[in-house]
């Protein structure tokens, strides 16, 4: 390996892996797919997670929505109890068994549903961390339960769980790397395809790793900025 790095063939191997036959396109197109899946899955995950968290914490606080709470519990158990790659294959080969469907949509649904389960527990922790006095204050101001939840409790909860949410976003981005299992050409699969053509492990794998790392660093920074912004409103 050191030999490879030091020798003049470094440039040659770079050319072979990325320039020849426009192989860089596998990486760029793959990155586009990875980002598309991640962005839409995050949106589904947050909406789904928020709904589940509200149902669960409402049940815990008031004993209402008993049936919905049971359904949510089953959802959480099943999704958190099975690997995401298995869920992805089930959704592709079984649930959409004989349907011609865009695989990006399949992946977005699979990762969205998966992420929703984790986001739900993050949000529930956030809601439960808000003092009951906030609820009482909301109710005494004439808000009903739903209004109290949306205008008073959720904004505070969101701020508390932001670091955990940022973490989930990072995990989700990296988990999409199993999309290749349903023949979707995401970033990881793009690298794999180059590897299957050039038989060089170094360049494709390191390039893919660096791209993931860069995106995660950008995301971390963005979450940090958002955190600081929200903290300003404390005063």
């Amino acid at each position: 390996m050191t030999n490879l790095l030091l020798s003049a063939s470094f440039a040659e191997r770079f050319t072979l892996n990325f320039i020849k036959e426009d192989r860089w396109k596998y990486i760029v197109d793959g990155l586009g797919v990875t980002l598309t899946i991640t962005i839409f899955a995050v949106i589904i995950g947050i909406v789904l997670g928020m709904l589940v968290a509200i149902v669960r914490s409402t049940y815990e606080k008031t004993g209402k929505l008993w049936l919905f709470d049971k359904i949510c519990r089953v959802y959480l158990t099943v999704i958190r109890g099975t690997p995401v790659v298995v869920q992805l294959l089930i959704i592709y080969f079984i649930i959409f068994g004989s349907v011609k469907i865009d695989k990006i949509v399949v992946a977005i649904i699979a990762f969205g549903i998966n992420s929703g389960a984790y986001v739900a527990e993050i949000f529930r922790a956030g809601i439960m961390s808000i003092d009951n006095g906030q609820f009482e204050a909301g109710r005494s101001l004439g808000f009903n339960y739903a209004q109290t939840m949306f205008y008073i409790v959720m904004p505070q909860a969101f701020k508390n769980v932001l670091p955990a949410l940022g973490n989930e976003l990072i995990v989700l981005l990296k988990e999409t790397s199993v999309s290749g299992y349903i023949a979707l050409q995401d970033l990881t699969k793009g690298g794999d395809i180059i590897r299957s053509r050039t038989f060089d492990a170094f360049f494709p794998l390191i390039a893919v790793a660096l791209i993931y790392l860069t995106i995660v660093m950008i995301l971390t920074k963005l979450v940090e900025l958002l955190e600081r912004r929200l903290r300003n409103s404390d005063h």
Partner: protein, 251 residues
């Protein structure tokens, strides 16, 4: 006579001791690690929790000849050459076609069999010749000859969409579910897939003919020579045809 016998026995005993000693000192040298992708019947597939098929049988016969122990490692097809190149495996045997690109990274033994690339479609498919693949979605296994050829002939020309599955059976499953229009894969696995899935057929026109060989690390010329010598013996004795005949019925 007696003395000659004694000497012979002593020498044999010494050799045995030596070989045992060399065995224990470098166990690795006597184990031949074979990288393969066991989703490629009848060349390699799982049966009773064991990888079996033409390739494992051939390698068992070669190892018996060379006095080595075979160890099979199942991995993704596109990782096999990298594994051989980096020394993670001694050889790659996976119904692997000798291609110029692969020869840049590894050496190949003499070919042990020939194979064809064929097109699998559903029975009611309008696709009748390779030309009909234009405008269709074609499933392949990542990194296989089918993938390389279809990518070059159809995707790069903007003629068709290629979907690359990790395993051949997954591409076939997608075909039976109507997700893709055709699968391009090696003839023998194609036969098995068509037999086990209803409503599929193999097009008469074969796509391309190729030769399978064993991939060996470029620096390991000694192993390459040994394998070639052993392979020649198997061919001569008819053992090779016998192994292949066990799995592939003559048409």
């Amino acid at each position: 006579m007696n003395i000659a016998k004694k000497i012979l026995i002593t020498v044999l005993a010494a050799f045995t001791l030596l070989s045992v000693a060399s065995c224990s000192s470098s166990e690795d040298a006597n184990t031949l690690v074979m990288a393969t992708n066991a989703y490629f019947p009848p060349y390699e597939y799982y049966e009773n929790d064991k990888v079996v098929g033409i390739d494992p049988d051939i390698m068992e016969a070669i190892c018996a000849d060379l006095g080595m122990t075979l160890k099979i490692e199942d991995m993704e097809f596109d990782s096999i050459i990298t594994a051989v190149q980096s020394g993670k495996a001694d050889i790659g045997v996976a119904g692997m076609t000798v291609t110029e690109d692969r020869l840049l990274s590894v050496s190949f033994t003499d070919p042990y069999t020939t194979a064809k690339q064929v097109i699998i479609v559903t029975e009611d498919s309008p696709i009748a010749t390779p030309d009909d693949l234009a405008g269709k979605t074609i499933g392949v296994q990542t990194g296989t000859t089918g993938d390389i050829v279809i990518t070059g002939d159809y995707e790069d020309e903007g003629l068709a969409t290629v979907e690359r599955y990790n395993k051949g059976n997954e591409a076939v499953l997608a075909l039976t579910q109507g997700k893709i229009d055709a699968v391009v894969i090696d003839n023998e696995p194609a036969k098995v897939f068509v037999e086990t899935n209803e409503g599929l057929k193999i097009l008469e026109t074969e796509y391309i003919t190729e030769e399978y060989a064993i991939a060996v690390n470029k620096e390991n010329t000694e192993l390459l020579e040994k394998l070639n010598a052993s392979l020649a013996k198997l061919k001569e004795s008819g053992k090779l045809d016998e192994i292949i005949g066990n799995y592939i019925k003559a048409e």
